[in-house]
Amino acid sequence: MRESVILILFYLVIVVVLSILIRHKSKSQNQQYDEMQLKNRAEAYKRAFFTMIVLLVGIIVFDTCSPLDLPQYALSGILIIVVMLSFLVFATYSIWNDAFFYIGQNWKGYFSVCIAVGLVQCIDFVSTLIRYFNGKEYAQNVWHLIISKASTSCVMTLTFFTLAVVILVKQLRENRISEE
């Protein structure tokens, strides 16, 4: 109980610090999107929002109608998958429509971050599988491994590597387009 309260407080502190940092950053830096980018970002947000709604409704329908009960620990893993897939929809749409980076922003920073996070998650995924196959953990409960641990790191790996690939392909395509 006490650990849960500490976790919630820790989460609230992170949210407050992040919101202060974002507000401070947006004031100090000249991050601006032009009108076409804003229009495309709005479309990207809309698509991500509806993706999230569809996935959540799917989970609710499954949970309500299926005779199988979702294990208690599964919910957080599934919700992470929903969030990451929605984020992927937003990011992919906005990158492909030139609305992800603000004017003059360097794409290489984002690309490096995507590769780094993807690698970390990939290592986590592989180590989870190795621990399972060595029989050290989760020997009693394979579902816990699949739904909660492995699926989360797997979907994070896929999300960030996909983003890196989309950024790279888009930039290569941009570089190839020459003005007539």
Binding site: Q32, D34, E35, M36, Q37, D98, I103, I177, E179
Partner: protein
């Protein structure tokens, strides 16, 4: 529909899409999309482009 008048006016001024984008404070892709007819700019951006190219709205955007 492609906006060839914008493209030729830009070329006449010897400006690249990047140059025009920088003057109008938009991205190069936005200028490219306007020239290709993929995006309808707001009147604010139309005026900024006209000023940058020393043209009137009629000359660049009226069909």
């Amino acid at each position: 529909m492609k906006n060839l008048r914008l493209k030729s006016a830009r070329a006449a001024k010897d400006l690249s899409q990047d140059d025009l984008a920088r003057i109008c404070e938009v991205s190069r892709q936005t200028i490219s999309a306007i020239e290709k007819g993929d995006y309808n700019p707001t009147i604010k951006l139309c005026i900024a482009i006209c000023k940058a190219l020393d043209k009137t709205l009629d000359e660049l955007f009226w069909e």
